[in-house]
Each structure stands twice: as C-alpha cells, then as structure tokens.
Symmetry: C2
Subunit: 127 residues, 2 copies
DNA sequence: TTAACTGCAAATCTTTTGCACAATC
DNA sequence: GATTGTGCAAAAGATTTGCAGTTAA
C-alpha cells in the first residue's frame, strides 16, 4: 500500500479523538486543514484502516457508523438521549470467554452492545 | 391500537420462521397470500411489533435488519459465508450479569454479536 | 364517523462507486 | 511511467414518510 496524506490525516484524527466520530464528523473536522477532502475518500480510507486493523468500526443500528482508535475494546454503550458512544467497564476477558465457549464456530470478531442511558443522562433523569 | 390484518400476518410470519428473515423476505413471502402488501407497511408494522415487544430486531452492520420471534435471545452469530444468523449456545444469564455489573447506567437492551463462520461453514472449510 | 392503517411513490440517509485527474513510488 | 489514491457526482441499498384512499371500531 502506498502512502497517502489523506489516509494519514484520517488515522491521526481517529486516534486523537475519544468521542467515536462518524465519517462525516471526521470529514468536517479535517476540512479545516484539508479543504478539498471528500466524504467518499473518508469512507474509503476508513474502510482500509479497519481492514488493516488500525481502526475499529462501531456499528449502531439505524445510525451512521462510528470509528474508534481503541482496538481492544469489544463493548460499547449507546446512549439514547445524548447519542454518545461510551466504553463500558466490562473486562475484555469475560466477553472473550463467553464467545470462546461456543463450539465449532470460527470467530473473526465479536462485540457486546448496550442501549439505554449513560451514567450522566441517567443521573439527570433522576433529579 | 387497532387490529390490522397485515400486522397480524407479519407477526405470524416472523413467529413461524426461525431463519431471521428481513423485511423484504417477509414481504415477498406474504405476497403469496396478500398480493398488494407493500414493503413500507412491512417496515412500519415490524417497527410497531418491535416497539410493543412482540418481535426482536437483529441488526447486522452493513446488512438489512433481520427479525426474530424469539424474545429471550440476546446473542447471535452472523456467518460471513452463508450469511445466516444463528443463535449461539451462550447462557442468557452470563451476558445479563456482565451488563448488570456496569454501574450507574440504565440499560434498555443489550446484545452480543459474533462474526465469523458458523459451524457448518467452518467444517466445510476444513475439508 | 373518525382515527388508525395501507399502498404507492418519492424522499432520506448512509455508504459505495465510476471516472477523470493527481500523487506516489 | 505505472498504479494507487482522490475529488466529485451519481448510484445503490435500506428504511422512512407524505398523501390519498381504505378499514376497523
């Protein structure tokens, strides 16, 4: 694979943020420094980065995909109120064990998704 | 909510199948018995059935949603080869415990998704 | 009768793709 | 110089929505 300025920028952007941005958010953000950056390129490069294992895709039903530079996280919560994606304090090991216990199948990848209210929004609702 | 012939048919179709059909598959299938059934209605009614808790939605990144009449299942595997959705033999309790251990958040729903090869396809690859 | 439901088609949203041009090696 | 990557715009795929007509209560 050949070097590309855009791909490098996109990777740095994902790694430097911890808010799980969408392709569109990444594109908007990077246009400040690379005004002609196109959304198509962002999607293409993100797909490449996911394929080579430098970035993780976080899919949320009915929403645009988010991207995460944290490769070892296999669980997320999606808050229905603030719409943020949050990493839960679930030990990686415990999920891996559940999946590993399934016989015969070949596992490429797995993740645990939780939907509801994040701690911030849950607290606000209780006031 | 008022009775509807279409909604009833759609619910029965989902409950009677165990192959996790898409809205489109449900529509095609039911047109044999209800020729003017429209895909928009199927989507609308499936959303209603999910909301009132009679049907579960199974979302797969990059694929059309599947629908499942089995309400107590919180984990699925998606086979990248045969594209089937399969329920894994993971005890419900073990997933619930992991999720329940997260402090402060309010959980509406959760599920564990596994991607790879189902046992049938994994066996074929090893031949 | 009247409010909910449906069919149909158009719209929406996210993501992919074809193509001509630009950048990398 | 040969290829890979990019920008742009159009296309694709899944799902939603507006509207006029239909149906259940």
């Amino acid at each position: 694979m050949r070097y590309s300025h855009q791909r490098e920028l996109i990777l740095k952007e994902v790694l430097s943020r911890n808010d799980h941005p969408t392709a569109e958010q990444i594109c908007t953000s990077l246009r400040e420094v690379c005004p002609r950056l196109s959304l198509g390129t962002v999607y293409r490069d993100l797909n490449t980065l996911v394929e080579i294992g430098k970035v993780r895709r976080v899919s949320i039903p009915g929403e645009a995909d988010r991207f995460d530079g944290e490769l070892n996280v296999h669980q997320h919560m999606f808050c229905r109120k603030c719409r943020r994606v949050i990493t839960l304090p679930i030990p990686e090991e415990s999920i891996r064990e559940l999946v590993a216990a399934c016989p015969d199948i070949r596992v490429d990848n797995y993740f645990l998704s939780v939907f509801g209210l994040c701690s911030d929004c849950a607290r606000q609702e209780n006031l």
